[in-house]
């Protein structure tokens, strides 16, 4: 018989099917043992899929947040410098800090390739409609703000340059705020009150992250103190209505702060020069500020960092997966070797009844692959269920990439072949007469 004919005979579909059934029967006879044998593979596969899903989800969220900040942007924020101990300046003197209009002008004049600079003031106030109020960040900014954010005006419109120049009391509110303050009416054209001032609602903003139900992360501009919603008004209006002095009352003490701008988003035309632009901006600010009362944020750098983190995470995860599958595989091999010894008699009988060496190899290999494959399937199912639970109960994004269960299953099958071949060969190499005499 030719080699090909032999192989065709061993692997003919009906024989494969019957060999599989025979394997299932042998494994089923020792179901508890089979189950315990594959636990290593089950937990290995399951944890890898679950961890991958969590990792992918986390990195997706991070990248989404960074993407929302804009990969061409450098974000400058005002930071209150730590109060000098002992110096304890008299309470009535205002603490002055943060970036100024002058800084903005300097940056615009010095750095070529700046596409846009959008400064903002952020004031936290309650916004009222009749008896209802909403805790809110009021963002005084420019019309070009729309170009540096991923948020979009859903209904109505954003304010215009003319309205900015005229210091008009107009505002754009967010969807969630609109729903709270105007549960029945259309908010467009209505007015809201902040302190003594009234603002006309001209647009409703649909926030991308709000829409997708994700909690606003600390990376989002101006939201570090976590006002639930934001209202947008012209920068000039913010300056003239609320001034630049901020009074804060907190447990007994009373502090006054003076801040010109809370944030400026600088958009660079060429993405490759973003990092460099950030250095220059820092130099300019350093030269003009006594204290470090600002910080710069480069989403692109964060993105690179996030990608690097993810790469490391994947390497670690890959190693964990490899080790656990190795351990699982060794566990299977160990049991299969014991099984082969235990079934020496059966091997002898089969050989006496006409089984060739390769039939025996095939039989035990099938059993090992069935074991590890079944372990892989159970592991995949558990590994797919865990992320579901996590996203449901922990409100975390988890992403299962379609290749991860496929790969995990494939590898567990491969583990079966790799770790099954040795016990199977041992079985096939037994001398039939010796095997038949085995007790």
């Amino acid at each position: 018989m030719s080699r090909l004919a032999q192989l065709r005979e061993t692997f003919s579909p009906s024989r494969m099917h019957r060999a599989l059934m025979m394997g299932v029967k042998s494994l089923w006879m020792h179901r508890l043992r089979s189950l315990l044998t594959v636990l290593g593979i089950v937990f290995g596969v399951c944890s890898v899929i679950a961890m991958l899903a969590i990792g992918e989800g986390a990195s997706y969220e991070a990248r989404e947040q960074i993407r929302r900040l804009g990969s061409n942007n450098v974000i400058i924020r005002s930071v209150k410098p730590p109060e000098e101990q002992g110096a304890s300046q008299s309470r009535s003197v205002a603490v002055e800090y943060g970036i100024t209009y002058k800084d903005i002008d300097r940056i615009a004049a010095t750095i070529p390739g700046i596409d846009l600079i959008v400064p903002s003031r952020l004031i936290r106030r309650n916004v009222w409609v009749g008896g209802n109020s909403v805790d809110c960040d009021i963002r005084g900014t420019l019309p070009s703000y729309l170009q540096v954010t991923t948020n979009r005006v859903g209904r109505g419109r954003f304010f215009t340059q003319t309205e900015l120049d005229d210091k008009k009391n107009v505002c754009v509110i967010e969807e969630s705020m609109a729903n709270r303050l105007f549960p029945i009416d259309d908010p467009l054209g209505k007015t809201v009150r902040v302190d003594q001032d009234y603002f006309e609602v001209i647009g409703v903003m649909s926030r991308e992250d709000a829409a997708s139900g994700m909690p606003e992360g600390s990376l989002s501009p101006g939201a570090s103190e976590g006002a639930p919603t934001t209202m947008y008004i012209p920068l000039t209006a913010a300056r003239s209505r609320f001034g630049e002095i901020l009074m804060k009352r907190s447990t007994g003490s009373f502090s006054v702060e003076r801040v010109e701008l809370h944030e400026a988003i600088v958009r660079i035309t060429d993405q490759d020069s973003v990092i460099e632009a950030n250095l220059v901006i820092n130099e300019i600010l350093q030269a003009n500020h006594k204290n470090v009362d600002y910080e710069t944020l480069v989403p692109l750098a964060l993105l690179r960092q996030a990608e690097e983190t993810k790469r490391i995470f994947n390497i670690v995860l890959g190693s964990v997966a490899a080790i656990s599958l190795l351990v699982g595989g060794i566990g299977i091999m160990n049991i299969m070797l014991a099984t082969v010894t235990e079934r020496t008699r059966e091997i002898g009988v089969r050989r006496a009844l006409g089984a060739k060496r390769r039939d025996i190899v095939f039989q035990f290999l099938i059993e090992t692959v069935l074991l590890s494959g079944a372990g892989g399937i159970i592991g995949v199912m558990m590994g797919l269920a865990i992320p579901l639970f996590i996203s449901h109960f922990a409100q975390m994004t988890t992403i299962v990439r379609f290749w991860s269960p496929v790969l995990a299953f494939g590898i567990s099958g491969l583990v079966g072949v790799v770790f099954g071949i040795y016990p199977a060969m041992r079985a096939a190499d037994m001398d039939p007469v010796e095997a038949l005499r085995h007790e």
């Binding site: 032999q6 009906s14 029967k25 006879m29 009988v349 089969r350 009844l353 060496r357 039939d359 039939p432």
Partner: protein
């Protein structure tokens, strides 16, 4: 293939022996000691013959049967099974020969525990590559023949020793072998079950099967046509009735 041709050959031609063992020796090496289990055995078996092999323990009966069954290769000498010189075949070819031409019956039944009665009978057919439906048909027919049709779905441990041995006989018959080899088939059975098994062998003999049986009991050997007595690996007596 020459194998199938050999199987198809009529078995009643007394002139031509179906099994020819020529001056076969078997030597085992145990450390420095050489154990000569067979020392120049020459035997011919004719189709339809019912022979028993007897002799004291350790005289080489099982060794001879293993050689006859192509499980073991002789150290020297030649062995013809049907037309072919089996002593020169390789491992795979020996497996094929065992599967196609030899039916084994063991003292301890040796059924495969995880398989049902029917599936046990099908095992040799499976290794011969018979299609599933055909194996099923043959196995059912054989189960009927050994009187176990109602038990085909049972597992071996649910059967008595005598029933298990009958399954083993059905299994040995599955490929319609040239010779049936039985090593003390009644050794583990009580006299009643043993009797049933021997009656089955008698029936097989009447149907023209070639039987070679190792036994310790004179009662058993009395039923056979031919008694071969071995002593120290050599044929001492070979008598036909």
């Amino acid at each position: 293939m020459t194998q199938t041709a050999a199987i198809a050959e009529p078995r009643t031609t007394d002139a031509k022996p179906i099994v020819r063992v020529e001056n076969v020796t078997k030597v085992y090496q145990m450390g420095a000691v050489l154990v000569e289990a067979l020392r120049g055995v020459t035997l011919h078996f004719h189709p339809g013959e019912y022979s028993t092999i007897m002799g004291p323990s350790g005289c080489g009966k099982s060794t001879l049967l293993n050689v006859l069954g192509c499980l073991d290769r002789p150290t020297s000498g030649r062995y013809f099974l049907g037309e072919d010189d089996v002593s020169t075949l390789d491992d795979d070819e020996l497996s094929s020969i065992r599967g196609a031409r030899i039916g084994f019956i063991f003292q301890s039944y040796n059924l495969i525990q995880q398989l049902s009665v029917l599936e046990n009978i099908e095992v040799p057919l499976y290794y011969q590559g018979a299609p599933a439906w055909k194996s099923r048909e043959i196995a059912l027919e054989l189960a009927e023949r050994v009187g176990l049709v109602e038990r085909v779905g049972h597992k071996p441990f649910e059967l008595s020793g005598g029933q298990q041995q009958r399954v083993a006989i059905a299994r040995a018959l599955a490929n319609d072998p040239l010779i049936l080899l039985a090593d003390e088939p009644t050794g583990n059975l009580d006299s009643k079950s043993g009797e049933e098994i021997l009656e089955l062998f008698g029936a097989l003999h009447r149907q023209g099967k070639t039987l070679i049986m190792v036994t310790h009991s004179d009662e058993v050997s009395e039923r056979a046509q031919r008694v071969i007595r071995l002593r120290d690996g050599q044929v001492e007596v070979d008598e036909r009735k």
